[in-house]
Symmetry: C2
Subunit: 303 residues, 2 copies
């Protein structure tokens, strides 16, 4: 079953307490598609400049990621520069150079329009709406957003949230979006707007997955070495949607959403062990199933 992702591809310059890197490959669509590619074929929609490395594009293509929807524009690739303090949960932005991303107006290739699983990465809500108009009756749509859009574009954001199945945001974002500090109440408010599920990312504390009537809490894996949390949320989303898309046409159960959460958590736990996509792009299926087993051991108890 196919999975479509729309999002950024970027260069990141990052300082963390464990080192510093300049202009390494990043972006939400990059992390998402690499993570999901362990589970299903992915269709990517994004834009890069002519400075984007050809070998990265070859790597993506070699991993069953369809790049028909990747536009290469004259100019420079989106560049994010930021840093993390010892509290690795918060990314501090130094500069954001949108470059070719400024004029990103995604047009879906005809072959993409029937994709059943869709992930709308963190881009302008108006563009997310535009993508939704171009896909034909998708089975499941998930959406990410951020504080910038919550503040600058509340109308279109609320409209697009009303049209998706899953909202996937972090704790601070869902609080800001709903005006509710309590996460159970915040999720219920979002569910009142349309989505059936809210996936709340909590960094080193894991994920809280709420729907009408069920709750699932997954810890993050307690790692000894976290080099760089950049891309953890997008890798999580990729593993999560990748697992769901791998279920294909059958009806998704509550247990599927739980296992999707754990696939996302397992893959994301590898992403943060190195800068950029270095670790993420070199996993084996055994790495992922090993980490799933470790998560079982981490959370198991019997009454």
């Amino acid at each position: 079953m196919r999975l479509l992702v729309v999002g950024s591809m970027a260069f990141d310059s990052i300082r963390s307490p464990f080192g510093e890197v300049e202009r390494v490959v990043g972006g939400s669509a990059t992390y998402f598609s690499l993570a999901a590619s362990y589970l299903v074929p992915v269709r990517l929609v994004s834009v890069v400049g002519t400075d984007f490395p050809a070998e990265v594009i070859r790597t993506l293509a070699s991993r069953s990621i369809d790049l028909t929807g990747l536009k290469v524009s004259e100019g420079k690739t989106f560049h994010w520069k930021g840093f993390y303090e010892y509290d690795l949960n918060t990314a501090h932005t130094v500069t954001t150079e949108l470059n070719v991303f400024r004029d990103f107006a995604p047009v879906l290739p005809e072959v993409y329009r029937d994709t059943p699983y869709v992930f709308l990465g963190n881009i302008a809500p108006a563009l997310q709406l535009d993508i939704l108009r171009q896909v034909r009756r998708p089975k499941l749509v998930a959406l990410d957003t951020m504080n910038y859009w919550i503040e600058s574009s509340p109308g279109p954001l609320r409209e697009v949230i009303g049209k998706v199945d899953i909202l996937m945001v972090n704790e601070g974002e869902v609080r800001m979006l709903t005006g509710e500090y309590n996460l159970v109440k915040a999720a219920r408010r979002v569910i009142g707007w349309g989505p059936s599920r809210v996936v709340i990312k909590r960094g080193e504390y894991g994920v809280l997955h709420l729907s009408d009537g069920t709750m699932f809490a997954a810890p993050a894996y307690p790692l000894e070495t976290i080099f760089d949390p950049t891309g953890a949320g997008d890798s999580f989303a990729g593993g999560f949607m990748g697992y769901l898309a791998s279920c294909g046409d059958r009806e998704l159960t509550d247990m599927d959403f739980r296992l999707a959460t754990m696939y996302g958590s397992a893959i994301a736990s590898y992403t943060v062990e190195a800068f950029s996509t270095e670790k993420l792009q070199n996993l084996t299926p055994e790495d992922i199933s090993d980490r799933l087993g470790s998560f079982l051991a981490l959370t198991e108890f019997r009454v």
Copy 2:
């Protein structure tokens, strides 16, 4: 099997975003002993002033809490005044009036000296050492402490940590104590000092339980109404130690420690739903087993 607790009994004046109370009953030994009393008989060592309400003492006594070790001194009971912001994880102290607690020098009644399970609540490390000298070959000793003792009494604190089986602290405390930000590394350092287990309390994010070779992560229960987090950590400790003590003489397994963690989490999740001990002291065994069942549903997944 018996369980001994040494700690404070107090009046608390608390402001939270959900209300304000004046001079309600609190204190680590109060919360701990009430929580543990659902599982085993408890022996309490503490001190109160003559102003402490007789009916509270009657309530404790009625719940199989042995008060032979409770001293009533001329003067006023320990009084803590503080508040919580919307982030309920951090207690802000306004005033601390030690009163009769200033001269607390616990002497164990002879009948207490053979208690197999011991919890050293958050008091001066020198007093915790003194208690340990008075008990005869306990089976399992757990210890709580706080930033105040980490800064003011590092020598005695390190000495007493070296003599206990379990260190039970919050995230900030274990980081401060070890100088390690990473919790896995911090726990390993503590285990190098003597304890075999470190239980890290993370407020609304739950508990991380680490030993040499095993890790267990328990979420906190996502509640819609949290009125007052005061006493949550001590209620957790009471449920945790209460379950272990209920295992009696048999060898404790890793699964026992996991289930102990869940008993602690279940009982603590009720404590925070009301001010003071109002909810904690009126639970039924069914309430506790219901919440354990809810925790299973909250965390269960199958690969």
